[in-house]
């Protein structure tokens, strides 16, 4: 029998599953916190208005000004160039090539962390936005008028183009990126080519539909990081830096079609990555063996199986979500289920964040060191030493397994608490300050306890 490869393409270390005692404590804390939250529930919506207030103009000008804007854009474009250059010209080894760790660790995970604290920083560094704005400026100089947008992206399309692109990214990362049977996994060359393809696609989208409209609805990284940036207490509005209530930015996030899909995709993808090496490993192996026995080549069987389970896990997550909302719909005076989805999807952003931290925290901590030591000095993996850090390695003693376990469980519990608070706030707004809001929230509580328990269960099964 052919063994199913489980190894990650990146990252030399995997986390140990959380032990039973920690699982039990985590689950107990989730239940207790939920009931505490209920008994203390407030009666007037607190997060529906964000109370955004600009900081002192001088402070704002230091952070947001034409110079920093151009500089950030240049940094973004430069790094995009380095990804393509190192991916095409560097070593085949995913762990030794700048491109892979930069895209999947530094940006994909690191930018989420930055967004949570500083707001939508990706917007400033977004290389495609910078390119589009620069070319727009040139166009205006030459033609004397702003660049036209030949096509209109209909409102009802919402964020779906970004969701579709993000699904492609997730597939590339989790399915195509799995090494085995001759496939190199996250092959740096493929990463560079995919980056170029996505660059062309994004520039075309912005040229056809307008820069800001495409950034908001079609550009997957803007949509993804923008979702988490809604949690941050910082927002730049009309060129001015300001502070708002933490979490209040979430309230208007899910209005746009496709938002529900975006947050469910984020949760589903993390769930799949956590489950495939633990909770559903046996099932994946069975389907893989069945396919190989049926004459499918091992590599095709590997990718096909992973694709099937990725879709199935996302469908499961979506099913859980909609079942909970259908239950909520049964409360009298409730809006239709579909509208409930849009009304409450933003409350699942903290859950998605909790999942993300639980599954990728140690990966970011350890593989992130590679980025800032040897990959910075030796981006191609060819033995160069630009900054003198090429021989530095990853310090795996930085945080031990116990510390990682606490972060994992803590992030799930914290995400759960915040999600409950956000959902409760919305329920007051939707149902009015009454028992109906409370009844609707029993469904929401059940749904969120379900998600958080699932997250704990995945951690206890290895990931």
């Amino acid at each position: 029998m052919i063994a199913l490869p489980l190894a990650h393409a990146l990252g030399a270390r995997e986390d140990l599953p959380i032990p039973d005692w920690l699982f039990a404590w985590g689950a107990a804390v989730v239940l207790i916190v939920s009931f505490v939250a209920f008994s203390l529930a407030w009666h007037r919506a607190r997060l529906e208005s964000d109370g955004w207030r600009p900081v002192a103009p001088s402070l704002s000008r230091i952070v947001v000004n034409p110079v920093t804007e151009v500089l950030a854009g240049l940094v973004g474009v430069f790094l995009l160039g380095v990804v393509v250059w190192s991916g095409l010209n560097g070593t085949d080894d995913p762990t030794r090539n700048f491109a892979v760790t930069f895209v999947f660790v530094t940006v994909w995970l690191g930018m989420v962390a930055l967004s949570l604290v500083f707001g939508d920083v990706f917007r400033a560094f977004n290389p495609w936005r910078a390119i589009a704005r620069a070319s727009g400026g040139v166009f205006r100089l030459v033609a004397g008028q702003p660049a036209p947008t030949p096509l209109t992206l209909p409102d009802r399309v919402g964020r779906w183009p970004a969701v579709v692109a993000l699904a492609g990214f997730v597939w590339f990362y989790l399915v195509y990126g799995q090494a085995g049977f001759g496939a190199a996994g996250l092959d740096p060359h493929a990463v560079a080519v995919a980056t170029l393809v996505y660059t062309a696609y994004t520039l075309a989208g912005m040229a056809l539909f307008g820069v800001d409209r495409w950034l908001e609805r079609g550009e997957m990284l803007s949509a993804y990081f923008g979702m988490f940036a809604r949690i941050a207490p910082v927002e730049v509005r009309d060129g001015r830096l300001g502070l708002r209530r933490p979490l209040s930015g979430l309230s208007g996030w899910a209005v746009m079609p496709g938002s529900v899909a975006l947050v469910l995709l984020a949760i589903g993808a993390t769930t799949f990555d956590g489950a495939r090496e633990g909770a559903i490993q046996g099932q994946i192996t069975s389907v893989f063996d069945w396919m190989v026995d049926g004459g499918v080549g091992p590599l095709s069987a590997l990718r096909l199986t992973n694709t099937l389970f990725l879709v199935a896990v996302i469908a499961f997550v979506a099913g859980l979500f909609w079942a909970g909302l259908a239950g909520m719909h049964s409360v009298e005076g409730s809006p239709p289920t579909k509208r409930l989805g849009r009304l409450f999807a933003h409350a699942f952003v903290p859950i998605a964040l909790g999942y993300l931290v639980a599954h990728y925290f140690s990966f970011l901590i350890f593989q992130g060191q590679a980025q800032f030591t040897y990959l910075l000095s030796d981006p191609l993996g060819d033995g160069s030493d630009l900054l003198g850090t090429a021989s530095a390695g990853i310090d795996y003693t930085l945080i031990g397994t116990h510390g990682i376990w606490y972060v994992m469980v803590g992030s799930l519990v914290a995400g759960h608490v915040v999600a409950l608070a956000v959902a409760h706030d919305r329920a007051i707004d939707v149902y009015g300050d009454s028992q109906l809001a409370a009844r609707s929230q029993y469904w929401m509580l059940a749904l969120m306890v379900g998600f958080t328990s699932l997250g704990l269960f995945l951690l206890s099964q290895g990931n």
């Binding site: 063994a3 490869p5 489980l6 190894a7 030399a12 270390r13 995997e14 986390d15 140990l16 032990p19 005692w21 920690l22 404590w25 107990a28 804390v29 207790i32 916190v33 505490v36 939250a37 203390l40 529930a41 407030w42 007037r44 607190r46 997060l47 208005s49 090494a179 209530r245 140690s362 390695g393 990853i394 795996y396 003693t397 031990g400 397994t401 116990h402 606490y406 803590g410 519990v413 914290a414 608490v417 915040v418 409950l420 608070a421 706030d425």
Partner: protein, 154 residues
Amino acid sequence: MQSRPIGVGIAIAAVIAAAVLFVVLREDEGTDPEPAPQATEQTTTGEQTTTEPADADQPAEPDEPRRPSLPTIVVRNGEPVGGVAELEVRRGDPVRFIVRSDVDEEIHVHGFDVYADVEAGARTRVEFPAEFDGIFEVEMHGSGTEIARITVQP
């Protein structure tokens, strides 16, 4: 609007409740797993913290009567016989195993970045201290085939 502190207060109360329980939990950790550690089958000399050099790749002598049951990973036709070997130690203990392959290979222990040259037919002993915890692969560097997984318990 005017009594926003209540909402914030509730959120903070919930977080504090979580934090308090978390501290309880942390204390629990100190007492619970220590008296009842999981069985560490591989190393019966559990308490002995090794002071041996980190990189050990001496080709082994014919046999080692001193330590009778070192786990041996046999690689035939490029695959580990009996599937990927599972090794388990506690942090601080030495990781010890023997590799026997039917071809010349270099093996690589991920994370610890221990490399060892394996000669066809010979028994190669690998030993290094498990200085940090986690799950780490052992692979054959040439083919990339995984031959063992080392679980280092905290």
